[in-house]
Structure formats: structure tokens, C-alpha cells
């Protein structure tokens, strides 16, 4: 049996990571992308494991053995996780996504609302704190873009003050910014990033920063620079007299959009085949093997490969869906781990962990999928479509996406 080609269904973080790891080794990879991915929410951090039962996790690798057996990390194997985490970081670096952090020890990312959450990797340009008892600076100038509502500056400033920083909020605008605000709807982080590319536009921002930042040791700006790479950030820093760091905004987020673009760019450079707008519609499973994938574009002629990887995401990305009676997987109607009684999918209070967040496709230890109780030998699942984890409450979403993708790529390359 040949083992040279793989079709990955889904072009978000997990699909691209898996595709990159395979393409790097000369494997033939096609990614079918059905639409935008949840990477677009990302503020520029990856999380391996952020919390268990509501308590923050300081040392994720140490905490993984205490996770239940059904968690994807436990299926992959605790001893493999540290190695895969190292690979993930290298792979991000290869694409030009420069992040710092450590799988052994979490640092703190600052959320758009000024709240601290544990993180594994964070973009170098973003503000992060290693030790809350030992702040890197004292005086901060929080530069607020006038008329930009997707960064709640009041909350952000208060959150930073609660941590012990002296924060001065300084509102500013430039020609480019105020002309964008003339539209009632266009003032979003991603449109700002498009407007703030030229040297002149960046110079005008730097002029404001240099004039207004006063005695601050550090200047914080919203993450609205650099849609394709971090060149604009580097330029802006070179024009400013004080060190700059960025703070994530509400989505659509520039950091996420940029990471998607960089991963994709590198995948294409490696000769990968990325097809946008190719929503997978199904496929035939015979004798425990998937024989091909049909898409909206392919009609009835299936696309065929040796291996298939399902990376379609959870409900948000429509990899999973629900009707009045069931939770189901949307492409192949694979077996899912989910309660059959709709009253058990959710909880009454909005801030409680909702059960459906942990639902997903059922897999074995090798992340192979099942259909009507039978294992499908050449179909594996990765990322948010997997059951047994909880990105929202446990902070394990991006970690599961990257590490399950790398584990599956490794197994495919090894012919397992």
C-alpha cells in the first residue's frame, strides 16, 4: 500500500500545522479549506494547558498526567507531548511567527479586557508577563486609538493597575485613523492594519507616541499592525523612542490573521496544495477505509489520497453541528462522543463549563475515527473536532490543535 499522499479537510491551525509537518518531509498534501478558521480570534498566544477545574496551571507538562484518559494529550501520550511542543515552536519559527514561551512553565498573556491568563507561547511583539510578583516595568503609557471600540481601554487600564502598574491612558489619532472612523462600521483591528502599512502612516503614529508617552518605560498599543508579517511592527518600533508592546483586540484579530497568512505562505512555499472554498461534503467508507472525499466543487468525483485527516473544527467552524435531537460530525457522520439528551448539552448559567464544548469525534489512541462502531483505518482527526478537551475553560485549544496535528503527521510519515 502506498503512503505518499494526504488530504486534510480543514485549513485552520491544526490542518495547516499537519500539512506543514508532512510537506516539509516531501509528502504530497492537499488541504481543503471550507472557510475562515477560528485562528482569526487569536490574539497572538498559544495555550498548552491553562487551567484545571478553574485553577490556573503553572506547569502544563507536569499537569498533563492528571488529565482524564479521554483527553487528546493522554491519547497522544504524555511523554510525546514535550517533544511535540518543541517541534511546534520550531515550526512556527520556520514560518516567521516569532514567539517566546516555554512548555514547562506558563507565562501570562494580557487579554483585550486586561485580564491575565496562562499561555504557552506568545508573539514577541505582544505584552506578556513571566512573573506577576516581579513586574518587568512600572510606568506604562496605554495609547488608545480614538474611536476604536474593539479595545476596551478602561477595562484594560484597570486590569493593568490591579497588577501593580502605573498606567496613563493617552488617547490619540492620526489622519489615517480618523479618516477610517468616518465610516460607522469599518473601524476594526484588521482594517486599521490595512491602513497602517505605509512608512508615512507609521511615522505619524510614532510621532504621537514620541510626543505623548512622557516618562513611561513602556508604550502599549492595540494589536493593529502587520496583516501579513511583522514588518510594520518592526518599523514602528524603530521609529519610536521607547519600547513598544501590543495588546490583543477583539476579533477579527490582526495577530490571528497574520499567523494564518504566514502558515499558509510557508505551506505553499513547500509545494503544498491549499484549496480555498472547497467544503468537503462527504465520502464513502468501505471495509474500514475511506475511499475519497467529495467537495462542493468536485461534485460526485471524489478526491483520493492514501491518508485523510479531519481538521474541520468544532461547532464554530461547522465541523460539528447539532439539530434538535443529535450532535453530529458534519462531513462523514462519524461517531461522536456526546450526550444523547439535549438537556445535557448545556448548563443554565452562562459562565459554567458547557458540556458540548468537550464533545467531538470519537477516536482511538492513534486518533483514528469510527463510523457506526467500526474504525476507519485511513482517517484520523485533529484539533477542535476532537472530543475530550475544553479550549474555553482549560486553555488547551491551540495546544491540542498543534500537537495532535504533529502527532498524526509523525504517524503518517512513519507509516503507522
Amino acid at each position: 500500500m502506498s503512503n505518499n499522499s494526504t488530504i486534510i479537510i480543514g485549513g485552520g491551525l491544526s490542518g495547516l500545522t499537519c500539512g506543514l509537518a508532512l510537506a516539509k518531509r516531501g509528502h504530497s498534501v492537499t488541504i481543503l479549506s471550507g472557510g475562515p478558521s477560528t485562528l482569526l480570534f487569536s490574539g497572538g498566544s498559544m495555550e498548552l494547558l491553562g487551567a484545571i477545574d478553574g485553577q490556573p496551571v503553572g506547569r502544563p507538562l507536569d499537569a498533563i498526567p492528571s488529565l482524564p484518559d479521554c483527553h487528546p494529550y493522554r491519547k497522544i501520550g504524555t511523554e510525546r507531548i514535550a517533544d511535540l511542543a518543541g517541534q511546534a515552536r520550531e515550526l512556527l519559527n520556520d514560518t516567521g511567527i516569532t514567539m517566546t514561551g516555554d512548555a514547562a512553565t506558563n507565562h501570562w498573556r494580557i487579554t483585550p479586557m486586561g485580564i491575565t491568563k496562562p499561555a504557552w507561547l506568545t508573539l514577541n511583539e505582544n505584552f506578556k508577563i513571566d512573573d506577576l510578583n516581579n513586574l518587568p516595568v512600572r510606568n506604562i503609557a496605554l495609547m488608545a486609538v480614538r474611536g476604536f471600540f474593539d479595545q476596551p481601554n478602561g477595562m484594560l487600564a484597570q486590569g493593568l493597575r490591579d497588577l501593580g502598574f502605573e498606567v496613563k491612558v493617552i488617547e490619540f489619532t492620526t489622519e489615517e485613523i480618523s479618516s477610517l472612523r468616518r465610516s460607522p462600521t469599518e473601524m476594526r483591528a484588521t482594517t486599521l492594519a490595512k491602513r497602517l502599512l505605509s512608512q508615512n502612516a507609521l511615522q505619524r503614529i510614532a510621532d504621537q507616541v514620541n510626543a505623548l508617552a512622557g516618562d513611561a518605560e513602556l508604550v502599549l498599543l492595540p494589536s493593529v499592525f502587520g496583516q501579513k508579517n511583522d514588518d510594520s511592527v518592526q518599523t514602528l518600533q524603530s521609529l519610536c523612542h521607547k519600547p513598544l508592546r501590543l495588546i490583543a483586540t477583539l476579533p477579527p484579530a490582526v495577530a490571528g490573521m497574520r499567523m494564518q497568512a504566514q502558515l499558509l505562505h510557508y505551506f505553499m512555499m513547500l509545494g503544498g496544495d491549499y484549496r480555498t472554498g472547497e467544503s468537503a461534503t462527504g465520502g464513502i467508507i468501505e471495509n474500514g477505509m475511506l475511499t475519497g472525499v467529495t467537495t462542493l466543487k468536485s461534485g460526485t468525483t471524489p478526491l483520493v489520497a492514501d491518508n485523510y485527516v479531519l481538521a474541520t473544527g468544532a461547532f464554530v467552524s461547522r465541523g460539528l453541528a447539532a439539530d434538535e435531537r443529535h450532535i453530529y460530525e458534519t462531513v462523514f457522520d462519524l461517531d461522536v462522543d456526546a450526550d444523547e439528551d439535549r438537556d445535557h448539552w448545556t448548563r443554565f448559567d452562562v459562565l459554567e463549563p458547557q458540556d458540548y464544548w468537550s464533545y467531538g469525534v470519537a477516536t482511538d489512541e492513534s486518533l483514528r475515527c469510527f463510523k457506526q462502531g467500526s474504525r476507519v483505518e485511513n482517517l484520523r482527526a485533529i484539533g477542535s473536532v476532537l472530543s475530550g478537551h475544553n479550549a474555553i475553560k482549560m486553555g488547551d485549544g491551540t495546544g491540542v490543535s498543534m500537537l495532535s496535528a504533529l502527532a498524526v503527521a509523525q504517524d503518517i510519515l512513519a507509516g503507522k
Partner: protein, 549 residues
């Protein structure tokens, strides 16, 4: 807002209840020259006023079973089209007969409508389908009636604003804890101010209970018993809107047989279940209610089966058994106005209840007449002829050249009528949209904060429709919370407020959490909890409070 003499004034009348009936009574009393205080324990229009169909009945639905109510409805329907046109979408309604229904009922129905003075015209089923393509194509009969859609939040606010313009004082978040009595006379109320945690007493000559289903508790405080029969009704909101007209089923009123268009959405209702008095504060919609409504709704408009259910909600009708029928077997939906001096020997207390949302003005008139009789005031009622603020320009003379206005300006004019001019639009930031689904600008939020008794995001939603569209507050709630944080200079409060707002949205989504609604819920949780960590902030705040305790 309270001033130093808000509580010390001796009022002619204190109205308890900030639904549309209380607001209408405050307006009528104030217009007749009385010194008026209105108190509401929560926000305005949180009871049955904010939990009904938003249907401006023509009366046709009651024509066969309750001719008196039907006649009241059509009379008030005509009044509302003049005095409250900015709260109304003039859709007209259809009463359709399905193959399962008895077509002979149509004749009974039309005759009953005619007796009540309702213009009901049988039309060809094909014409009905052309008028509203959402109607089930299998219909065998159709009748056109002057039903319409009405926004009860807007209607309540317009009445409150007019009451204030005539000198009334209105306080939300003031709960009545007790009634002050001297011998057999009610002389005031004990209030708990939920905003600052203080307890105060306010005095007045007459107390009007316009507290809906909660009126029986108020009456009990004065030692009076009212035989209330709470009838709970559940409804489903579908989006985007599928129907142009109000679609009713032409049969005896039953479950899930009315579909009302409401701005950007369609509302299907209702169920009707007698519930015990102890259960009136439980607004959780049950699985059975959802399934019943869905099954029936698909019959009148099959497209509902393929339309997203945005949320579910329930309200309680304040029905009262007449005094000569304490069993409640023949409960009317008509207006009940009780002078407790005559009925129970308690002077200075009037209860106004029963009725329909659309007959609120008549109810207010009856209550005000009773108050005026006690006070010797002979001023006539003028509420039927005086337009409400926002409708002071007649509908046909309104500037219809909407091409000059932006989407948000049109939306604001729709919500506030001529008062939309009060929304700041001085610069690009005032004109910027906070809620893109419903077209709510920064300027409109500033106006609502200043003039419309807004303390939190849920209040803001009721005044402006922020967060009520298809996305149910996915991004706009954070933007609005951020504006409120700046306005109140209180970030912690804004975060709690934001969590409460998201919880209030979720309560309505949970009973119908599948399809795109479940997807939106995960999306919202990913942003507010996953990305932003709002849950962490709330847990920390609760932890700090427990530490202090």
C-alpha cells in the same frame, strides 16, 4: 434620578409597576394634573409587557370567544395607529385555514369580527400567498384583518417620557417592601432602592397596583385577596424574519398559532398553561413548550423548520377570576379595575389588571378615573387624542425621504420617532455603530444613558435593541460595556454587567441551543471567556468578596 425631595413629596398617586399599564396610568394621571410617582422593582417592561408577542391585536383572535375584549382591542388598535405610530409596523394580519381545520369556522369567525366592528375580509388563498409567501401553501382559506406589530418596550418608554414631561417622577429598581396603612386606609409604600441598598418610605393619597401578576402580592400586603390565575405563555424568536404579515390560524385559539413579524425577526407563540402562583418568577422555557411551538409553527409557516431559532422566552398573563366566579372557570381577558374601598373596605388602593397589552390605555383610563373619583378631580381623559412623544408628527406627514438618512439614523427614528433628534450625531464617533445588527450608534447610547433610565446593558438593550439582532450581542456587548465603564467610571461593575448581559442572552438561547444558535453560543463563549477571560475576572471578584466577608 432621585433628588432630595423625590421621597419627601406627598404624592396624589403612587403607581406600582413599570409595565405598559403602569406607564400609561402614570401618563394619564399626570396629564390630568395629579402629582405622580411610579415605582418599578426591576427595569421598565420586564414583566408581561416585555414578554408577550408584540402583537397589536385587531381583536379578531377574541372575536368568537370574547366579543367584549375584541371590541376593546379594535377600538384601541385605531387609537394606537394615531398616538403611537412610531411603535407600530402596519403589517395587517391573515387568519389562515389549514386542510386539518374546519373551513366552516371561517364564517363564524368573520361574523363575530363584524359584530365587534373588526374589518375582516375573506380573500382567495392564492392572494394570501402572494401577500405573504411565508404562509403554508396548502391553505384552504384566508381572512385579512387589521392586525399589526407593536414594540412594547418603545411603547412603555414613550408613555414614561410623556408622564415625565407632565411632571411625573418615575423610579426603576425601587421595590415595594410594604404598604403603610393608617387604620383601613393606605397612605404610602415602603421602598427598597436596589441601586444603593437603602430603604425609604413614600406617601401618597392613592396607590394604584399595576403590578400585573405580582399584583396579588401587593394586595396581600394591604390584607386584600385577589383571585389571580397565572397563565404562562412561551414564545420562540426566529431570525432572520420570514413573514411580512401577522399570520394567525383560523380556529379556536390554541398553542403556537400566531407568527408576528417584529423588526428583523419573527416571533411564534404562544402556549397557555395555568401555573401555581409560586411559579410566576420562574421564566425558564421547558423542552415541552419548545417542542409544542415548533410542531405547530411549522404548520402555519413551513419555512420555520429551516429558520434559526434565536431564543425562547415566557411571560405570565395576569388573569383574574371575577368575584362571582372564584373557581376561575370563566376567566375573561377583559379589563379588571378594582376599587378596594368598595370591594374590601380598604381605602386608597386601586388594582388595575387583566386586559391585553393593546388595551393598556383603556386600563390606564379606568384606573385614573377611579383615582380621580377619590381625589375629586374632574379633568377629562385626553390620552386617546394626544400623540405620544415620538409620534407627535402624524404618520402621513412624516419625512419619508429616508434616503437622506443613514441606516442607523433610520433605525433610531424607528425606535424613538421624533425624539431621535436627541441622539448626538455631532461627529464621526457619535455616528459610529456599536451594534451593527440593529444600527445602534454611540450617540444613541449617550442619549439612552442620559434620558432613558439606563443603568446597565440589559436596560440599554430594552431601550435601543442593542444585542437583540441575529448575533445576540456577540461583539456589541463588549463595546457597549466599555462605553458604560467610561460613563460610570467603574470597570468592575461593567464586567459584572457584561457577564449578566451575556447570561440574560444565554437564558433565552439555552432552550433552543442547537443549529446556529449553539454555534453562536460557542463563538460568544470563545470570545468573552476563552479570548478575554471574563469568567476569570468574575470569579476573582467573587473570590475577593468572599474574602472580605
Amino acid at each position: 434620578m432621585t433628588t432630595s425631595d423625590t421621597y419627601s413629596t406627598e404624592y396624589d398617586v403612587i403607581i406600582v409597576g413599570g409595565g405598559v399599564t403602569g406607564a400609561g396610568t402614570a401618563r394619564d394621571c399626570a396629564m390630568r394634573g395629579l402629582k405622580v410617582l411610579l415605582v418599578e422593582r426591576n427595569d421598565y417592561s420586564t414583566g408581561a409587557t416585555g414578554r408577550n408577542h408584540g402583537l397589536m391585536h385587531s381583536g379578531a383572535r377574541y372575536a368568537v370567544t370574547d366579543g367584549e375584549s375584541a371590541a376593546e382591542c379594535i377600538a384601541e388598535n385605531r387609537v394606537m395607529r394615531v398616538i403611537a405610530h412610531h411603535c407600530i409596523e402596519q403589517t395587517d394580519g391573515l387568519f389562515i385555514t389549514l386542510p386539518d381545520d374546519d373551513l366552516e369556522y371561517q364564517q363564524t369567525f368573520i361574523q363575530a369580527c363584524q359584530r365587534a366592528g373588526i374589518d375582516a375580509q375573506a380573500i382567495d388563498p392564492a392572494e394570501a400567498l402572494q401577500l405573504d409567501p411565508a404562509v403554508n401553501p396548502d391553505i384552504i382559506g384566508a381572512v385579512r384583518v387589521p392586525d399589526a406589530a407593536i414594540d412594547p418596550f418603545r411603547l412603555t418608554v414613550a408613555n414614561l417620557l410623556d408622564a415625565q414631561l407632565h411632571g411625573a417622577v418615575t423610579l426603576n429598581y425601587h421595590e415595594v417592601e410594604g404598604i403603610i396603612m393608617q387604620q383601613n386606609r393606605v397612605t404610602g409604600v415602603k421602598l427598597f432602592n436596589k441601586l444603593d441598598g437603602t430603604h425609604v418610605e413614600v406617601h401618597g393619597h392613592v396607590i394604584v397596583s399595576a403590578a400585573g401578576i405580582w399584583g396579588h402580592r401587593l394586595a396581600q400586603m394591604a390584607g386584600v385577596d385577589i383571585p389571580m390565575f397565572p397563565a404562562r405563555g412561551a414564545l420562540l424568536i426566529f431570525g432572520p424574519r420570514i413573514n411580512r404579515m401577522v399570520i394567525n390560524r383560523c380556529r379556536k385559539p390554541s398553542n403556537g398559532d400566531i407568527l408576528v413579524p417584529d423588526g428583523t425577526v419573527s416571533v411564534l407563540g404562544t402556549t397557555s398553561d395555568r401555573i401555581p402562583l409560586e411559579a410566576i418568577d420562574n421564566m425558564r422555557v421547558t423542552r415541552e413548550e419548545v417542542d409544542t411551538l415548533l410542531a405547530e409553527g411549522k404548520k402555519i409557516a413551513p419555512q420555520l423548520a429551516r429558520t434559526r431559532i434565536i431564543r425562547a422566552y415566557a411571560g405570565v398573563r395576569p388573569l383574574v377570576a371575577s368575584d362571582d366566579d372564584p373557581s376561575g372557570r370563566s376567566i375573561s381577558r377583559g379589563i379588571v379595575c378594582m376599587d378596594h374601598a368598595q370591594r374590601d373596605g380598604v381605602e386608597g388602593l386601586v388594582t388595575i389588571t387583566g386586559g391585553k397589552m393593546i388595551t393598556y390605555r383603556l386600563m390606564a383610563q379606568a384606573a385614573t378615573d377611579a383615582v380621580c373619583a377619590k381625589l375629586g378631580n374632574t379633568a377629562p381623559c385626553t390620552t386617546a387624542d394626544t400623540p405620544l412623544p415620538g409620534s407627535d408628527t402624524p404618520a402621513d406627514k412624516q419625512d419619508n425621504d429616508t434616503t437622506r438618512y443613514s441606516f442607523a439614523q433610520r433605525a433610531a427614528i424607528g425606535r424613538h420617532g421624533s425624539l431621535a433628534a436627541k441622539c448626538d450625531s455631532q461627529d464621526d464617533i457619535d455616528n459610529a455603530l456599536v451594534c451593527e445588527c440593529e444600527g445602534v450608534t454611540v450617540g444613541e447610547i449617550k442619549y439612552a444613558l442620559k434620558d432613558l433610565h439606563v443603568f446597565n446593558l440589559v436596560n440599554l438593550r430594552r431601550r435601543t435593541r442593542l444585542g437583540m439582532g441575529n448575533c445576540q450581542g456577540k461583539l456589541c456587548s463588549c463595546r457597549a460595556a466599555s462605553l458604560l465603564a467610561l460613563y460610570h467610571h467603574d470597570v468592575k461593575r461593567a464586567q459584572v454587567d457584561l457577564a449578566n448581559f451575556l447570561d440574560e442572552r444565554w437564558k433565552g438561547m439555552r432552550p433552543v441551543a442547537w443549529g446556529d444558535t449553539l454555534r453562536e453560543a460557542q463563538f460568544t463563549a470563545s470570545i468573552y471567556q476563552g479570548l478575554c477571560g471574563l469568567d476569570t475576572a468574575i470569579n476573582q471578584q467573587q473570590g475577593q468578596q468572599e474574602d472580605k466577608a
